[in-house]
Amino acid sequence: MRYLIKHGSIIDPAQRVATVGDVLIEDGKVVQIFDLAEMSPEQQAIGDNVEVINARGCVVAPGFTDLHTHLREPGEEHKETIATGTLAAARGGFTTICAMPNTNPPHDRAAVVRQVRQITRRDGHIRVDVIGAVTLGRAGGTLTEMAELVEAGCIAFSDDGSPVQDPVMMRNALAYASMLGVPIMSHCEDTRLNSGWAMHEGVVSTRLGLPGYPAAAEESQIARDIALAEMTGAHLHICHVSTAGGVALIRNARRRGVRVTAEVTPHHLTLTDQWVLGSLAEVETGEASAEPAKGGRRGRGKKSAQNHQGLGLRTWLDPRLLSPYDTRTRVSPPLRGEEDIEALLEGLRDGTIDAIATDHAPHSTVDKECEYGSAACGISGLETALGLVLTLVHRGEMDLVNVAAKLTEGPAQVLGRSPSTLHPGARADLVVFDPDIPWTVDVTTFASKGKNSPIHGQQLRGQVMLTMAGGVIVFRRDDFGKEVSSPRQASRLDGILTSEG
């Protein structure tokens, strides 16, 4: 099958390309990119035997890679399966996802890894890479047979939500993994310092009387793991960093040359602990909002609001749509403060943080419909990841090319791979998204079985229209791209591409 994706704004971070043009795909590979400015003879010679996808007004980028996905299969198929999880990923623009090992049984033996890969071949819509467990049963007691797990296909190791507490065990895990050339992905949390926690420790936890998870419980473990990585020379990857102090530790370590990489989630970049207050949240009001409906002031607070005055944006996120103590806001690590978001954004911009990863954690209703402190941690994030991070672009806090890089090139580098790209000859893993289209998050439309999203009902701008994996369309929104001429103009993108609003 041949496809010609026409008139898209092509962003290929790996090639440092941002241009308007056409992409020709054949036999599962990118064949050629045509710059719209110059009509070449090859382009005229494409012929009729091709499906044209009209991508005018949309971005065409390499497919996204998610370093941190929970697929729940085997063991908790009522929460998610490889079939539903990979379809959700395709709907989110992802063409590769890395499956965390906290399944039942966990990815701690080669047989389980082979089974997961086998199910993926049968049910998967996109590529799934398997992260192995660091310790047997993720119990922190005995290292898994890491070499055999790598042989079976594991691309990294993590005990994720049950982080290795014993520093000796962590030292050994890092040292052993360094032999195999794969990273240890560390969910950094001192589980004694945050014992019994329900949310981020701060003003909101004090008001609501919920036991707190202090930033120091993450930071102290990041500091420990960096010291151990420095000592062993291993590649340490910090999962979902959420604190300003954590970003500073990683930045400092990278400057010293420690092999440490890091990821951040869309929700930690956009939502704060104010969301646990829900309708009780204090939302900035004041003189600046001449047109409240377009204010863009309801985002995260004062600072971001000031940044976006006068942009006329219609995208904001309003915690007051939720009730107080809404368990959909419960996630590990917890939603933090405004100053943490500022630091995370700075970390993304200056390269301290390599990747945006979803930590997609689907849960069933019963896991969430209970007392706040008893609720399962996690947000179903694959299908809203792009929309959430694009709010940062619309607010002028990130530029679109950088966001695309953190979803494509960045995670590939963490995995030690050559970056996903639209370069001719590359596997045709790509996404077409409209960066501007407004839509309202409706969890009932999720492909994921996990409907646990705190941003249900919020309006976002920017949505995936088509995802192609290996040259096969794995997701297409309605009849996207089938009409020959679209009223949408490529020029509408100009403002977004240059972050001028």
Partner: protein, 327 residues
Amino acid sequence: MQPQPSVVASVMPEGERRRHLLDLDDVSRAEIDAVLETAESMKEVLSREIKQVPALRGKTVVNMFYEESTRTRISFELAARSLSANIINFAARSSSVEKGESLIDTVRTLQALGADILVIRHAQAGAAHLVARHFHGSVINAGDGRHAHPTQALLDLFTIREKLGYLDNLKVAIIGDILHSRVARSNLWGFTKMDAQVTLCAPPTLLGPARFWQATWPRVRITYSLEEALDGADVVMALRLQQERQQAGLLPSLREYSRFFALTEERLAQLADNVLIMHPGPINEGIEIAPEVVTSSRAVIGEQVTNGVAVRMALLYQLASQVTHEE
């Protein structure tokens, strides 16, 4: 006092009538005043020979106690009975909670059984909000984790008003395990609405950073010095110190805590004669408060308990009736 059926309530626009009492954060000064005034009438009822009126006849109140409590449960039970409501008590240990029945499922069951008002006590903050989201009638928070205990704060205000004759511009010192205290949090809202100057006093391990409190309650003062907290106070409130705080390592010893933070005759000597000594109970005599202070003329701890019934009657009555209070 002739309440009408509560069915009407659901068709009334939000804001015209309070449906739940989950905390005092969203309760106005006018509403508080209305409750305290109604409580005065209720107190008069309780002084009669026959301590009962038919105001809530035919209504069903369920006491859902997921955490041990004697005084609050009995207080609500007496309040409901004095208003002639049907009152059903259940404690977590004797209910289906042990079988893994979820809180929400229990609420749905009570809904189906025709309960009108749920009174919930629970060890986890936010439990009352959860119940309120799933119940069509009214919910009263009788204490949820560290979060809120609004009826305690209301009975404290009632007692202060009764004893001092006013509630404006009070100087209040709250001493003890603030961090884990729902009483402290609800009282902060209550006193703040009365423009009181509140001082919190505890060692840092039982308090947390001052800015965590001052962001929500900007006028609150924080001190580690009991002398400073007591200085000029009109009301002094000691909080119960649970012994497990020491076991958890938050305190070196109960002995040291008592030496520096207990209310003793000696320390209270500096205060005016009409200062009120309060305690939400149950009391650890000799730990946070000396026995002779408990029995001193300035202590109103017994009155707090007595007034609790009247205040809870007032609340039950107001939530069950259709009276809208003009502000």
